[in-house]
Symmetry: C2
Subunit: 440 residues, 2 copies
């Protein structure tokens, strides 16, 4: 559906998951509807979860009890196995080099925990920014008193390997590079492999915020050299919000001892306590963990990240094609467009008001998300959660009805938005990909 999608005749996996869609046969049976009366959440999390995931919360767990410790151990094991498959390629316990440390709170808490624990007094970070979540990392580092330099690409252009390499050569004191895998403020999928390669060659360490990507987009320790990464229970794993987790090399985890300036967000202390007792240090969100274990089973049943990415890609393609038929335009070039969330420009038509549009869609059972761009008006529609292309088709119908109800005749954006987009693309992203490998 997306016309600019690169052709991948050699079968190499694309980071934005296009190659995955050929595996859609592993998709599970048609999705059950959510509970009656509940709107579909077309948002980057909290998102629509399955009825089974929610029903898993109908039990109270003692956090000290063996039953809950077993849940925690299984969860950590399964998450590590996704990054670093065991000897049999599955999630059997093995001598993994990586470990998983869950952290209470929202995803941002887990990101701050990673930053505060993996950066020390002598660290200096290069942060690659192209949206709100990159800017939030810079803000977090300011709170933590960390030395920071920034490459800021604006709202929607990807940081590229060459410019990262240049920055690392220019400043040998940079110890860490920090990147957002999928920047959900625009929906852009940043070229993680390209960047990790450059960072590895320069002998620096990579920290990754893969909040809205991990679980659907490829992330294997054999392909991405990284020090630590962080993700959340309620993005591509389709659990409920309440915690995130850090996955890191055990040797790197061991080296973080004493770095944290927060008791609660000390990843090393949480890890050491889990290893010693099997328990979280402080009260875990027991119901959210139980829901997550159910969500992990559904993830496996769907074919893991490959199956999930296939469904999300179908969702995205159905959405983008339908919206373009209505005259909407996407912010991003298709080749940078993740299957996670899509940013559309607001129509130029004076009858279009986002608040009214939101309410019209909500009354039809769909909740969308406002835009987060700094220069042009936009809105976002998520492709993740327990929903499929049939739901996306219904959404496009609802959008059509909403435009009619509002008296919007054309959904095309103002020329200013398109002009700005094109100008930036010409200035900053002119060349085709230099790498002989089409995987970015």
């Amino acid at each position: 559906m997306i016309s600019e999608q690169p052709k991948t005749g050699n079968g190499a996996p694309l980071e934005n998951g296009a190659a995955y869609s050929r595996h859609s046969a592993v998709n599970a049976a048609p999705l059950p509807p959510p509970l009656s009366g509940e709107p579909w959440l077309l948002t980057p999390g909290p998102l629509t979860t399955s009825a089974a995931v929610k029903r898993a919360m109908l039990r109270d767990w003692g956090s000290w009890d063996d039953d809950f410790r077993t849940l925690t151990a299984q969860m950590r094991q399964k998450l590590v196995a996704m990054i670093e498959p065991g000897p049999a390629g599955g999630d059997l316990p093995g001598e993994h080099a990586f470990d998983c440390v869950p952290m209470q709170g929202s995803g941002t808490f887990a990101v701050e925990a990673m930053l505060g624990s993996f950066l020390g007094a002598n660290s200096k970070s290069l942060v690659l920014v192209n949206g709100a979540y990159g800017r939030r990392i810079v803000q977090t580092l300011a709170y933590l008193g960390q030395k920071t330099v920034v490459i800021d690409k604006g709202d929607y252009l990807p940081p590229r390997g060459a410019e990262v390499a240049e920055a690392l050569i220019a400043d040998p004191r940079i110890t860490h590079v920090i990147v957002v895998h999928c920047e959900t403020s625009s929906g852009i999928l940043n070229p993680l492999r390209e960047i990790s390669e450059v960072v590895r060659k320069a002998g620096r360490k990579l920290l990754v915020d893969s909040m809205s990507a991990f679980g659907a987009l490829p992330f294997k320790s054999a392909e991405i050299e990284f020090e630590a990464m962080v993700a959340s229970a309620n993005k591509c794993f389709e659990g409920v919000p309440g915690f995130g987790f850090v996955i890191a090399r055990k040797s790197a985890l061991a080296a973080t001892k004493g770095n944290a300036r927060s008791l609660s967000l000390d990843v090393h202390a949480q890890w050491a306590h889990l290893e010693k007792t099997g328990q979280w240090r402080f009260t875990p969100p027991t119901h959210a963990v139980a829901a997550f274990m159910c969500a992990l089973k559904e993830h496996t049943a769907e074919g893991g990240a490959i199956g999930r990415c296939a469904r999300y890609t179908e969702n995205r393609d159905t959405l983008v094609a339908g919206m373009r038929d209505l005259g909407f335009e996407t912010l991003l070039k298709d080749r940078w467009q993740s299957p996670i969330i899509v940013t559309f420009f607001n129509p130029a038509d004076p009858q279009f008001h986002f608040e009214r549009f939101y309410e019209e869609l909500k009354s039809r059972g769909f909740i969308i998300y406002p835009g987060k761009l700094t220069t042009v008006d936009s809105f976002r529609i998520g492709c993740i959660g327990r929903l499929d292309k049939a739901v996306m088709g219904e959404l496009v119908d609802a959008v059509r009805q909403a435009l009619t109800a509002m008296g919007v005749k054309r959904a095309s954006p103002p020329q200013k938005a398109l002009f700005e987009r094109e100008r930036s693309r010409e200035l900053l992203d002119p060349a085709p990909i230099q790498s002989p490998n089409p995987s970015l």
Copy 2:
């Protein structure tokens, strides 16, 4: 049932809730059983919640949506009204001097958020320690680089007003006093009013960790002068774990701007964002919040903190009387014993092993908690959660069966434990309460 309970012929409320038990008529109808097959959690949280509270999690909420903003606003309003009733004595919006700021994560995250936000670069804290939660506050302040002095009363003696007054006179640089309301590591109820009075007279500020007390024990701004307090969704309010909250004077909240050294745990930033947008800054634990709103309704239906305390007091009295009949002894003198959780000494009988005892009780449908004392072996049984004296009676039966199954003939503790307890009491808590007011 508890023989040392002070007589309160004058009707003055006791901080440990004894006077509340006369109000037990406000108790709601008999409690529904938990969902089938689920053990009772006799723990200080996570605890047994009602089926309705858990069912409230069977819906996904968009965190940006108006419906969820309304939930958040109602929650903040109701919590403030418990501390500072509105003009009509209820929870109607009024010109409250206090405000409530929820914080993602476990209760410890909320405590750290309060400490990191309300203490500045020039603060010096006096921490009143008599158990694990007081020690955790000291540890948190060390992470935060805060200047700290400590009065440590050991495992189970209360900090008293006179010694706090003396410490404040001795060190005029102390700006804040920090106290744990109910120290759940022993179950002791600390004399909050007595301490707040002393702190007020000395012109210092009081920060309170009321994690396991607020919602059942008295806490009114008219009676306790405090700068900020913190509590949790899943203690006496009987919600599920996932967040805590800070309640503080608005003027004090406003003065915390710029203090926090953590983005995630910045109470001022969370407050400012809530005031501006109605939203939490970062993804809220939506399902836990929805469950909490249901729990708050049940709290009101039970007669608020008064009704809840009456039930917990009955639970405690049934438990303590039954356990004493079996030969067990409590750690605490009855007058310091909260209705939240009770610490019992392990029996001296060589056939008693805690792990076996735990499993015997678990197989009978009850989960208890290990002890947290440093000098003697003990275990703890919680009185809070959606359970009543009938459940406590069944628990005592199960304990009797467990002892028989283990071949334990006498449940009485070793003389060493009793000796230590008596010696400490004589040394450090010899005098009757000096205050003419029996409310401690």
